[in-house]
């Protein structure tokens, strides 16, 4: 049951480790942000107004029901001369819910690269269980993404404010957001079906999987279902998905498809290589005239 307005609003703290602020920026794009923030008491946020200063925060003087952590966790990092480890552990202990906002906080992500031997996510180091909050991992919700879509966080915070349960997958990601693949809903699906490759970014036609390194069929994300800025997605615009919600992000050689003798090394999730090659191999040898030129030209030339 949603909280009654006479009940106390959950206290929310947004802490940062090693970060680019991307998830904060993304969150600011949430269309219903004012209404969502009404449901919470913002104790601290790096960009929004809160009731506490960072200085007060690090002296452990604040309440916390929901802790959002953005950025990679660096055990040597300090905020206001207080170790990040102490700050995080303290507030994570108080919080009922802990949200890792973004791939850095979930898995280490991009900023793990700044100190690969010591930076991690909150409960995972890439896909290995490791991190400052591992002992209380049942409280942690990983919203991986680089950055996350504002709606993913909007959804999670709405569910929390309404006291609704959020089932998660084996990487602690909400299954309602991460069951789909980025591949589902891509507008290029006919080109994927018939293995017609796009030769460059930004073209309306062609699939980006075979030559441009698209990770859509291997990546759990809602990007082609909950559209970005409510209108588009990477792959719709003609840029390959680079798998930012998965623990191995960032990978090397983004935007190239690794092949062995023209055979893709990584194939869609859960499909056997034999099955994939049987279909793909055949499809690749067909010539479907309609799919070989610009779609608009087929109609224009009539």
């Amino acid at each position: 049951m949603p909280y009654a307005s006479s009940e106390k609003k959950p206290a929310l703290i947004w802490l940062q480790g090693v970060t680019c602020n991307g998830n904060s920026h993304s969150f600011l794009n949430l269309p219903y942000l004012p209404q969502l923030l009404e449901k919470y008491e913002i104790i601290y946020h790096p960009l929004l107004e809160g009731t506490s200063t960072l200085h007060e925060l690090v002296l452990n003087k604040a309440e916390c029901d929901v802790l959002i952590f953005e950025g990679a966790y660096d055990p040597l990092m300090k905020r206001h001369n207080v170790s990040l480890k102490d700050i995080v552990t303290h507030y994570a202990g108080l919080a009922k819910y802990i949200i890792a906002a973004g791939s850095c906080a979930s898995f280490g992500g991009m900023f793990k690269a700044s100190a690969p031997e010591r930076n991690t996510g909150l409960i995972l180091n890439e896909s290995e269980p490791q991190g400052p909050l591992l002992v209380i991992k049942q409280k942690v919700i990983n919203l991986s993404g680089c950055p996350i879509h504002p709606e993913w966080l909007g959804f999670t915070l709405t569910m929390i404010a309404d006291n609704r349960e959020i089932p998660v997958d084996e990487l602690n990601r909400p299954i309602e957001l991460y069951s789909r693949l980025a591949h589902h809903g891509c507008t290029r699906n006919e080109y994927f079906e018939w293995k017609v490759d796009s030769k460059a970014f930004g073209l309306k036609e062609g699939c980006l999987f075979y030559e441009q390194g698209c990770r859509g069929p291997m990546t759990h994300a809602s990007c082609n279902h909950i559209l970005w800025n409510e209108v588009n997605s990477k792959t719709r615009a003609g840029t390959p998905c680079f798998g930012c919600t998965e623990p191995d992000f960032p990978r090397k050689n983004l935007f190239t498809t690794k092949t062995n003798m023209s055979i893709p090394v990584d194939i869609p999730v859960g499909i056997s290589k034999r099955s994939y090659l049987a279909l793909a191999g055949v499809a690749k040898t067909f010539h479907i005239k309609r799919l070989e030129g610009k779609l608009i030209d087929e109609k224009r030339n009539n």
Partner: protein, 198 residues
Amino acid sequence: MSRKPKEERRDNIISSALKLFSERGFHITTIPDIAEKVGMSVGNFYNYFKSKDILAKELVVYISTYLGDEIAKINDQKISTKEKVSAIVKMYFKMAREDPEKIEYFLRVYLSNREVFGGGGCDGMLCVSPFVTELMIFFDDGVEQGNLRNQDFFSAFGLFMGYLGGMVFLFGEKILPKPLNEYEESISENIYNALRVQ
């Protein structure tokens, strides 16, 4: 024992058709010829294959599936890429010796009568998919293991299969002075040396 009589009769038609095509030639052999050899009426024959064209295409799928299964067995073995090359060459030549109608049909009918096989029924690699898929698995595994050079699929495929097909063609024409199996070792070596990481 568990095979239905209908399946057996279908296989009979296939092997009889392949034999007749090999003995008399593809265009000369008629449906009544095949039906007679199998011992069934022409009407009944059409219950199994609706036309000679359809039979022709089904034969390609049948042979490709057979070859695909044999290569799959080799692919699944825990042996080196080099040993897999030898095994594939050996299997292919064994088929050329013991089951010549199958490979003959492939080389002399499928590859040489494109007008029969194009136009929808056997577009592109549709009918040879089981065979090509297993070769893709072989190449993918070879590169992944670090044994084969990464290169365009068709460059490698053409080298392997063009070579084997060519040798079987020469064998069929009775041009080879030595028995086919005596060429296995050198051919396997040539193929592996051409494809391997230098």
